[in-house]
């Protein structure tokens, strides 16, 4: 049953990605995309429920489950955007990235290794806020990609696709900045709760593991973004920065999280 739900989730998200990219060129594909998203989302929700019942708690204890939840939340937010702003072509940008991240997670171990006595409220907050923070960073990078695409058309003076479909540059720039600000609020809570949890469990605030250090790097990178914006950074440079910063997030998940996890041993 679980494997079947994973397969349907993949088919739904994958075909939705393709359909939403096609919808940039031909509007009628949008309804196919929407239908596929719904199918994928229902299948993944089914998987989440099944897993939650099995574990007796929300499935986010392993990196594999965590990415599934991250994907699920991203798609729900996308679904809400489509519901309220059906004309906004986020799907063609967001879904391929989300699907790829989720697909990447399929190679990860599914064994839960955090000993039960280490579980607690702080850990729940730590993991939960990390999901929200990363979803916000993902969306910010999507708006930045959209910004650069539309900007490219305007600069090249060959208006074609994005000129007609995407919101104004100013709007996308502001959305990206707002999402990063929101993401930073969550991510700061993630770090603080992690630090307090470490003190509680290991009796030290900071473990200097690769994951800790890299997460601090991500936090500093986004803080720098906010500082630079306050100093007048806008538009092109800000968009490139937001996209690059999200790469740090992806590296944190797949490179640091898998190969240099240190005390974040939830994936060994």
């Amino acid at each position: 049953m679980g494997a079947l739900l994973v397969a349907v989730t993949f088919l739904g998200y994958f075909s939705a990605s393709i359909a939403y990219i096609a919808a940039l060129y031909e509007d009628r594909w949008r309804k196919w995309g929407f239908g596929s998203v719904v199918v994928g989302l229902i299948a993944q929700s089914g998987w989440m429920i099944q897993k939650a019942v099995l574990l007796g708690t929300f499935p986010d204890g392993t990196l594999y489950d965590w990415i599934a939840t991250f994907t699920w939340l991203s798609v729900i937010i996308f679904f809400l955007i489509q519901l309220f702003r059906p004309g906004l072509p986020v799907g063609g940008f967001l879904l391929p990235i989300t699907t790829m991240i989720w697909l990447g997670s399929q190679s990860l171990s599914r064994r839960l290794v955090v000993p039960p006595h280490l579980h607690g409220t702080l850990l729940k907050i730590h993991i939960g806020t990390a999901i929200f923070a990363y979803v916000a960073f993902l969306l910010a990078s999507v708006f930045s990609i959209m910004y650069t695409e539309k900007e490219r058309e305007l600069k090249r003076k060959r208006v074609r696709l994005f000129y007609y479909q995407l919101p104004s540059l100013e709007t996308m720039d502001a959305m990206s900045a707002r999402l990063i600000l929101a993401g930073m609020v969550f991510f700061t809570v993630t770090l603080v709760s992690g630090i307090l949890w470490a003190k509680q469990v290991f009796n030290v605030y900071w473990l200097w593991s690769a994951k800790d250090v890299w997460s601090a790097v991500v936090w500093l990178a986004y803080i720098a973004y906010l500082v630079l914006r306050a100093a007048g950074w806008r538009g092109h440079k800000a968009a490139i920065y937001a996209m690059s910063a999200f790469l740090l997030v992806v590296i944190n998940l797949f490179v640091v999280g898998v190969f240099f996890h240190g005390f974040h041993f939830y994936n060994v």
Partner: protein, 436 residues
Amino acid sequence: MLFQVVGINHKTASLKIRTQVGLTPDQIVSAYQRVNELQGQQGIVILSTCNRTELYVAGNVGYSAIVNWWGSIVGVGRREFSDSLFWYSDVKAFDHLFRVACGLDSMVLGETQILGQVKDAYELSQDHGATGALHRLFRSALSAGKRAHAETAISHNALSMGHAVAELARKVFGDLSRTSAVVIGAGEMGKLVARHLASANVGSLSIINRTQTRGQLLAEEVHGSYVSWDRLPEALVSADIVVAATHASHLLVTKQLMKKAIKGRTERLRFLFDLSVPRNLDPDIVRLGSGIFLYDIDDVNDVVNANLRQRQKEAGKVEKIIQEEIESLKKDLAASEVGPVIRQLRDKAESIRQTEVEKALNRLAHLSDADKQIVAETTRLILNKFLNDAMVGMRAWAGDKDKEEYIQAVRELFQLDEVKERTSTPPVAQAVQPEQ
């Protein structure tokens, strides 16, 4: 019933002829007062705008009768304009009206004004009780027009230079109410752009012009402010949108000047339009910051052309809507041909039944009320059962050209009174509904 349209438009006739035979509002009123001169007509709507004059006529009226009548209203001999006329009948006439209402037949593809003009023409005809059998056609056309604008982007994207400038600015800044614009030059192009920016709700609008009076005049018109020529460098500092449209033969804004103006805020988004030939803005200005966009007159023209291609793409979707609406109109019209026959047949049978039942019951005075009820009910059931197959059969004939003669045969066979039906317009809501 025959539907036809006779008309001229910007494609078939020169402005001179269009002016000669175009109907003034007074002439349209007098035409509606003279509709009875047109033998056999069962509805007329006259659409007259500067680009087209079209007469929609329902009923068996000859083409030449319509043209002669038209000529007599505008006082122009038939020969003088008959070569410029187009004529369509039935589905082609529907198609023409639908295309007109959706803006597909307009000079500016997809423009919305014509839909309002079609609506006005229809309402004026209604006011004079002249619409007759054209009600349904015009209602469908208006709803097709509304759908075309609501469901497709046929009327989106600017097709004029001034409008395109405002649109391009919106693509960058979104809401223009927080932006400030400077228009250099109060000539024709400057005026056009300033007006479009003003109607796009630009936050602040400054007009710079060498001749003060002209600049002030435009500034007043667009509720902007006039800025004297020598204060151009300061005006550039706070400007998000700069439009240059002068006849100056040299660069008005050099790279140096712009560099000074944007000092310390190089990342800010700015849109510069150089609509002058030769250039007024140094093309190298774009290198000053990644947020600077500079479009010259050719670039804006390219956008207008791309927009036109977008509208042409949308036109395909509008054609689909038109086909759908025409199909449903055809069904409605067919049902309305059969509907009255069915109704008359039933009414006639019912009135005979009532008369005969009344007579019989008078002779059967000894029956109780309950028994009388049974007798009346029995006759009603006999009649309904007998007519049922005929009614179902006739409804199936609706829309079938081959069966039109059958409907006529039923009329003659049962001697159904059609005079009443023809002269009075049935209430639309009732007529649109097929008979139950």
